[in-house]
């Protein structure tokens, strides 16, 4: 059974909002063993919606449609579906009572526009919306199903989890989706593909391997459908791990900052950071992890060299001799921030994010990263790209990764003793 998600809304087509509904729905359907074959967004025009339904039915068995079901003038999904399925609107007493209950509970006054929500297409199955006024409409035509539901995220999520997925499960066979993620670094996408050539060539046909590169990292996703493939999955995972060898950072789908947090927590170590070109992004990423205050003490962002001198006590001489973007300066930053914040570990970065500030010797994208732990330091120079956004994100990833690797070595050494 194949599913297509159809989102209705001009606001997506003009780029005013990002369609996070479809992403959530796709993830949930996958988790529940269903396959999404397409996601389509069209505007609030009857003709476009009808065409999308036609196309959808030609490639999927079930269409899950969100949006355009509000009480206002510009919401035309209900009318379009009436015309598409050649039916008419009739008053539904049960829906009306539900709307009344909701409005009474929130102390909202009832009005004509809202009453209209109780008119539903004749012949479709009407499913109560437990948390909103627009009911879910379930249409069947020959072997095809179309479900219309609200686009309000909270209402859509409630509808999908409590009503739609249970009904689809009763009706169709769901097939378990098996997935393993591997975080890889230190290799370009194409070199990785060459490294994995034999692995991919011998991978069973019902397995797939996908590459998701992101700012200096590559996530590999090995996947297959069907519980019966679990032993083969385990076997392939093991094989893949062996081939990836030193390029493998983690077999996990966790963000890098969560992996760092886990490693610090396990070893009961604390961390501070000193940032220049990343402007606080490393601290931001680290503190996105709930409970980060357990191991993370803080950062100094020295966007101005004078702040490097006054707050981080980097020597004026080092800045004058080597420049702010240099091995000497990041090492001083790392040492001083860990001493000032009394942490076991520290990360310091200094670089040129761009678009301005580059020189022939230090072009935009030049970045020094120093990671420090118990007086030991690892300092590396990187050459990233010309885009400010890219440089900030790549520096952040590489800095966190460099710290994770340092912690790994520490742990291995400790375990060996």
């Amino acid at each position: 059974m194949k599913i297509e998600i159809i989102t209705v809304g001009d606001e997506i087509l003009i780029g005013q909002i990002i369609d996070t509904n479809s992403a959530w729905m796709a993830a949930e359907l996958t988790r529940q063993g269903f396959e999404t074959v397409a996601i389509t967004t069209v505007g609030d025009q009857e003709e476009d919606m009808a065409k999308a339904i036609d196309t959808g039915f030609s490639r999927a068995d079930v269409l899950l449609m969100t949006g355009g079901v509000g009480p206002t003038r510009d919401d035309i999904t209900k009318k379009t579906l009436c015309n598409y399925f050649r039916t008419e609107l009739i008053f539904n007493e049960k829906v009306f009572r539900q709307i009344n209950r909701l409005f009474a509970h929130k102390n909202y006054p009832m009005n004509e526009l809202t009453k209209n929500q109780a008119f539903v297409p004749k012949g479709c199955t009407v499913i109560q919306n437990r948390v909103g006024t627009a009911p879910l409409l379930w249409f069947e035509q020959r072997s095809h199903i179309l479900v219309s539901m609200p686009g309000v995220p909270f209402e859509m999520k409630t509808a999908v989890t409590t009503e739609i997925i249970p009904r689809l499960k009763k009706r169709f066979l769901s097939v378990d989706y098996l997935k393993s993620s591997f975080l890889v670094s230190g290799i370009t996408e194409s070199s990785l593909a060459i490294l994995l050539e034999d692995f991919e060539a011998t991978l069973p046909g019902n397995f797939s391997l996908a590459y998701l590169p992101s700012y200096g990292l590559i996530r590999l996703r090995l996947s297959a459908r069907g519980k019966e493939n679990l032993p083969e999955m385990r076997f392939q995972e093991k094989k893949l791990r062996e081939v990836l060898c030193d390029f493998l950072v983690a077999d996990s789908d966790e963000p890098l900052e969560a992996l760092l947090g886990e490693a610090l927590r396990k070893e009961k170590l604390t961390l501070s950071t000193a940032e220049s070109c990343t402007g606080g992004n490393i601290a931001h990423r680290i503190t996105l992890v709930p409970g980060a205050s357990e191991y993370y003490k803080g950062t100094v962002v020295s966007y101005d060299n004078r702040v490097k001198i006054s707050l981080l006590e980097v020597s004026n001489q080092a800045i004058e001799t080597y420049g702010a973007v240099s091995r000497e300066v990041v090492e001083q930053m790392a040492q001083n921030v860990s001493e000032k914040m009394k942490t076991d570990c520290s990360i310091a970065v200094s670089g040129i994010a761009g678009p301005d500030g580059g020189t022939p010797e230090k072009p935009v994208g030049t970045v020094w990263i120093c990671t420090r732990m118990h007086r030991e330091t690892v300092t590396k120079k990187y050459q990233f790209g010309t885009s400010r956004e890219e440089n900030i994100n790549r520096t952040t990833n590489m800095a966190i990764l460099q710290m994770i690797k340092m912690l790994d070595k520490y742990k291995n050494k400790k375990d060996a003793n």
Copy 2:
């Protein structure tokens, strides 16, 4: 001329990533006067892609396709397009030289798979990718155009702004998209809808007003197509401004941090920040703006109270008496950071982001924000929600907004004198 965006990638269909590329592209196309009629996502299968292209050509004149153009085996866009347009791959010397340049610059070794990127479909126009290895492929068939480009966000963005939009503009008439944005704060979405009831009821039918709420702010977008509507647009803008009155923060579509940067630059003022619960996100947002180093000096993120004491010299007594999340502590943070970093203005925040750390008196979501300028301070307490991500983002928005308002008052006072 109508455009459809087609995104290729299983990772979107399983909900592993959110399709932010399409949203960005749709926004940019709209801004440039083009109309997007549909956005479609299909997986990395030739049959699905071919079907999506067929459907696309039946409703749009131009298909902008992203994804599936990497060097790895799971990237099959190029092969699919060859089959679709009945052509074959040929070696392109210019593309190969560009790849070589890129690899040399980044110090990557060249390999066979990357060389393959230089094989392009015969008969299509090949456009250099200035920032990556996969070239842009421009196909024409009768009156239809299909452009294939990489899915890597910054490569896609570079391609769209520097190559694709200029070429579309040469070829097609763009119909001016008139748009005004209004940044609103201090009112809920539903209260705003009630406030704007009369305005919306009398808005001409070819105009639309959209609401985009985001972390304590609401962006309103008033729009219409066609230059001839410009006088009416100006009239409606004026009306809307009057109704919005004090809730209006700015008539601009710029991010809040860019508005702050503009205000500081105009008044030649400098800024520093001291963050606790936002963990560096305020600094990160401020430094996303190119040229921020002109006015922004840095931040101290004191995730640990001892860092508040050691680096920010907040008095131990204030923390013990009032707690870290208090008026007294944020005011000291703001004062001390501006003195240490020698800035005219400063922002300090302290709060409980959650999910843990709340108490009955200070539940999760309690945040104090102090903005300071030339010894004057504004200090406010906010009560946000229970989600960590929401609290970090709302605090960041409200802190930047509070600073913008302070600068506004300063400017008005100065202008009045």
